[in-house]
Symmetry: C2
Subunit: 425 residues, 2 copies
């Protein structure tokens, strides 16, 4: 039985500060859960920080070579040098807990194999959904289920922006500015608003849920910066809410994974998730639909998830057990290209306000077996002699829809194709 378990913390930014604080404030609870004290031994941070000087180091080797450090917590963020440090830590026989979605999404399979070979654990609950226990129930709470679908609001920044755009008729730029003022969006918000952050998280979720490896570049990705006030107005009129959803499905051994804005019926619970909150709906063949909801970011919620991983590893170390491998044997499953998607669409466009144009558009759609469910045309701009039309389609194939859009762009009477948004029901 060990007398104590040593932790090395890489990064003392917002998250790292939260982890360090929680480890010290919750030391009694952690020790009781683990069976021995868990002690912070070294902190890697190059910026000036407020922490006991004897703990601080600027040299990663001081953590990697310290025999008293059993678990490394990586909260540096970003791909490099984080992934290199994690590899070195695993090779040095240390267990690793990370909140780094980019590293896990891009290198998770390789890192997990390294961890397995070295007989150590690599845990990353905090990489998706902040403090929400998500990977734990997916891996250990639903083991008999085949996961069929996942629909997630997994980026708090964009959900905050969309909530304000929807509830207050704010434009994208204004809502983004509010998010930045409140610290919900970064100065360079592209990682969030272009959907990249969500693709990392979805790649992790899908890999875990489907026992496969889904790489972030295999996830189709569209952000929210092209959404405009009229889209929210029409969504409301049609009974929908607009959300940036991360969607993953598997059927017949084929996986679908995509992140893009979606029209969802306003009565769906996911449609009612507002602000910076995250919510992930998981459907299993036995359990049916589950939703996990909570804060997807922030120092305290993220620390909650990190410390749950630390405690799980600590319990294994303290009892002298080999840490169980995180994932079941995986199997590479093919990814369905977005072109093969079959879904309903919302299409908003600006056309010349004269007879016959709608017929022309309807023909382009009809030629590709895209059937129209409803049309709204009521806004006319007298100055430019254009009209705004909104078309809702029945389920259609994505590649046909894209071909139709390409052809419409060639039609002189089509002033602008404003937005194409997929509908999930």
């Amino acid at each position: 039985m060990k007398k104590s378990i040593g932790v090395g913390l890489m990064g003392l930014g917002t998250i790292g500060g939260g982890v360090s604080k929680a480890l010290s404030e919750k030391d009694g609870v952690v020790a009781e859960a683990v069976g021995c004290p868990v002690v912070l031994r070294k902190v890697l941070e190059k910026r000036p920080v407020d922490i006991e000087p004897r703990l601080l180091t600027r040299d990663v080797r001081e953590i990697l070579a310290d025999p008293e450090i059993d678990i490394v917590i990586e909260v540096l963020g970003g791909e490099h040098p984080a992934v290199d440090f994690i590899k070195e830590a695993l090779l040095a026989g240390k267990h690793v807990v990370t909140a780094n979605k980019e590293v896990i999404a891009k290198h998770g399979a390789e890192l997990l194999e390294m961890a397995r070979d070295k007989g150590v654990a690599l845990q990353f609950e905090a990489s998706v959904g902040g403090g929400i226990p998500l990977l734990l129930p997916l891996q250990h709470g639903l083991p008999a289920n085949e996961i069929l679908t996942m629909y997630g609001i997994i980026n708090g920044t964009t959900n905050y922006i969309l909530t304000r755009m929807s509830q207050e008729r704010m434009g994208f730029s204004e809502a983004l500015k509010k998010a930045q003022e409140l610290g919900y969006a970064e100065a360079d918000p592209s990682n969030d608003v272009e959907g990249r952050d969500a693709t990392y998280k979805l790649a992790i979720l899908a890999s875990v849920a489907f026992h496969s490896t889904v790489r972030p570049e295999q996830v189709y990705c569209e952000g929210i910066s092209h959404l405009a006030e009229p889209d929210f107005r029409y969504a409301k009129e049609l009974g929908y809410e607009i959300k940036l959803l991360a969607i993953a499905k598997q059927a017949g051994g084929v996986v679908e994974a995509r992140v893009h804005p979606v029209f969802i019926p306003e009565e769906f619970l996911l449609a009612k998730v507002g602000g910076v909150y995250n919510a992930i709906q998981v459907e299993g063949d036995l359990v049916g639909k589950l939703i996990f909801y909570g804060r997807g970011a922030g120092a305290q919620p993220t620390s909650s998830a990190i410390i749950s991983d630390v405690i799980a590893i600590g319990q294994s170390i303290a009892s002298g057990k080999r840490v169980p491998s995180v994932m079941r044997r995986t199997q590479l499953k093919p990814i369905r290209p977005i072109a093969e998607l079959q879904t309903k669409y919302y299409l908003r466009m600006s056309i010349a306000d004269r007879p016959g144009v709608l017929a022309q558009i309807a023909k382009i759609l009809g030629d590709r077996s895209i059937s129209i469910a409803s049309v709204i045309q009521k806004e006319t701009d007298v100055a430019t002699e254009t009209a705004m039309i909104v078309i809702m389609t029945h389920p259609a194939r994505e590649e046909f829809m894209q071909q139709a859009l390409a052809e419409m762009r060639e039609v002189s009477a089509v002033a602008e194709i404003c937005n194409l948004i997929r509908v999930e029901e």
Copy 2:
């Protein structure tokens, strides 16, 4: 390494049938997760059932004495003989998985101690929230958190009834009848509609979350059968939804646990949980508010939870590890009596339609420092010369409110005190 793990199933009703089916249909997945096959060896059932005759027994001793049975799954339901069988199974050194909320709520502490003494596991994920992974994340996903509050819709039958009453202006009896027709309520619905089922589940949740022992008789309990159409009408008018909530809180080492109808603001996510679904909001000091949502009953969701417990135990057995004890060291915490509750109230009453009566009522409340937030009086029954009034109060102490009600009942101008419903915001 064991060649296979044997299971004895006690009960082959709806749930037992689901478990047996899932064990056989998911045998490959279960074997892969555990590391060896998990084989159903005996089924205890006295009624005629459709199962291989060699598996069937009417004598519990055939399961208890079978050395090839490692895990007993108890899905008989009810207190006796289930609790006796579980005890005997634990004493015989068998691991036990149960969905039995009544047994765990009433005898959980004692049974867990027996299991600990015998070095076996007692797991009961399916006893609360059906298939929703709930005890798993509470125990292993939030170990660093102090759980501050829990608000749960944990009885699908009553939530179904309340949803219909709220959405369709149905009376209680009619909604109950619909629930019975659909198989959501039993012929004798009292266990559900009087809140007893929810008190069992809340006692389990609170015991696990607060690392204490909360007995069901310590949970204040009120059912939904006294709710009437006007309550839903006024709730809507005032911006609330009526839900049967199971509420548990801890502060300063004191626990509060109660089940009763509640006015909750209509914009709360819990207010939007409709039909037979369950949802449990858990607030931890680090993680903030989480919600877990899903189907709280049914053969398949319940089987999902039972098999996750079986797999967890199976993994321990297969790897030759001692099964970790389910709960942290517990500490008996005092329970706050309902009389000491401090909350807002909705009070609906029928009074004589003449001057001065409202003043009389207001004085009775004022005498006990109960301050009125708003009054609605608009329905007058000319025939009986009575008026319906609704009073919303500011936070007040429950015992004072009860004293006030007692005094009002003595006032001749008070025709009827129709309903007192607590408000949570």
